[in-house]
């Protein structure tokens, strides 16, 4: 840390000196006392096996439901983190470019918007107690709605037209 390049002017030199004043005792302590006395040992990210999803479970199979629900919650956590990463990228780009953001950050914004819509499709509006069965029923309701009215976002048809097309 601290610029070790040759200072461009007096102010630069002053700032370099100030940073070095704070930084060098810490760096010395780290390099002389801490790192030689430590042995490195590993830690891992846990990999979970895929288990049958809710659509492969019988209705009275509580264990299958519990495993599918746990998998759903893990997947939700992972998907939320992925969405956060995409959102951070988009926001950083927007903040960096300021007025040019519309032109420069288009792909990042589109990627994020699509990911956000997909996340909402799967996990949104389920409430605090929403479990995997609620998500499955939400999917079923959306598919029925799409069968009657066409793709989501294209408006509702009236009852006769919807019944006719089904």
């Amino acid at each position: 840390m601290g610029d070790n390049k040759t200072p461009r002017n007096i102010f630069d030199g002053f700032i370099n000196a100030a940073v070095t004043l704070i930084d060098s005792p810490v760096t010395w302590f780290r390099e002389r006392v801490v790192t030689p006395n430590r042995e490195s040992y590993p830690w891992y990210h846990q990999k979970f096996r895929r288990v049958p999803t809710i659509d492969e479970c019988y209705t009275d199979d509580v264990i299958c439901f519990y495993e599918a629900n746990s998998q759903f919650k893990r997947d939700k956590a992972v998907d939320s983190e992925i969405l956060t990463i995409l959102r951070v990228r988009m926001e950083d780009c927007n903040m960096f470019h300021g007025p040019d953001a519309e032109a420069k950050c288009k792909s990042l914004v589109e990627t994020y918007k699509e990911a956000e819509a997909n996340w909402f499709c799967k996990y949104g509006d389920l409430g605090f107690h929403g479990n995997v069965k609620d998500a499955y029923m939400k999917q079923k309701h959306r598919m029925v709605w799409e069968r009657r009215h066409g793709p989501v976002g294209s408006g509702m048809r009236d009852a006769a037209a919807a019944a006719g097309d089904e």
Partner: protein, 193 residues
């Protein structure tokens, strides 16, 4: 309340207060203690003295709390934290090697977290499977209960099964016997009772 202690300080006593002290305790000796001492009037020779001093409760309690929280809390925990972080240090993230199943505490980074997970907390996979076993057992119990409930409901509807809804009248032979006895008494004694 604290003003009362000023009466006890020997340095600042005026003449009036010294007179009052001599009235209260003529035989008192004012020595280095912050208090008026009184001699117990006893016939004898032993001079036990009761020292009237202001309360030192808050000061003693303060010292107790400092001893407890600092010497047993702050200092040991700081030392442990310092030496664990410096000499043991956090782990480095590595991909899982082939054909190796990591132990359940090796999924954490900080050594104290690993210690807690290894020696204090239970194995998460074991708890997961135990919970599933409990769910399975409870579900079996529930299915048996639902079956019994359905059977009872059908028997109540149809009233055709001699089981839960049939309570046999096994006392009928005693009724018959008593009827004979009563008839015999009635024949002997008549109805005019």
């Amino acid at each position: 309340m604290a003003a009362w202690s000023t009466l006890a300080k020997p340095q600042q006593t005026s003449a009036v207060l010294q007179g009052i002290r001599r009235l209260l305790a003529p035989n008192a000796t004012s020595d280095l203690r912050h208090g008026i001492t009184q001699q117990i009037r006893c016939g004898g020779g032993h001079h036990k003295e009761m020292f009237i001093t202001p309360s030192r409760f808050q000061w003693n309690k303060c010292k107790d709390m400092v001893h407890y929280y600092v010497f047993l809390g702050v200092i040991p925990l700081s030392l442990i934290t310092f030496f664990v972080n410096i000499y043991v240090g956090p782990a480095t993230l590595t991909p899982i090697p082939e054909n190796y199943k990591p132990k359940y505490w090796e999924y954490y980074r900080h050594p104290v977290t690993r210690f807690i997970s290894r020696y204090i907390m239970p194995n998460p996979q074991m708890e997961y499977e135990r919970h599933m076993n409990v769910l399975h057992e409870e579900e079996e119990r529930r299915q048996l209960y639902l079956l019994e409930k359905k059977v009872k409901q059908l028997m109540a509807e149809r009233s055709d099964y001699q089981a839960y809804y049939y309570s046999p009248n096994t006392a009928i032979k005693y009724y018959r016997k008593m009827k004979e006895v009563k008839k015999e008494e009635n024949d002997r004694q008549g109805d005019n009772l």
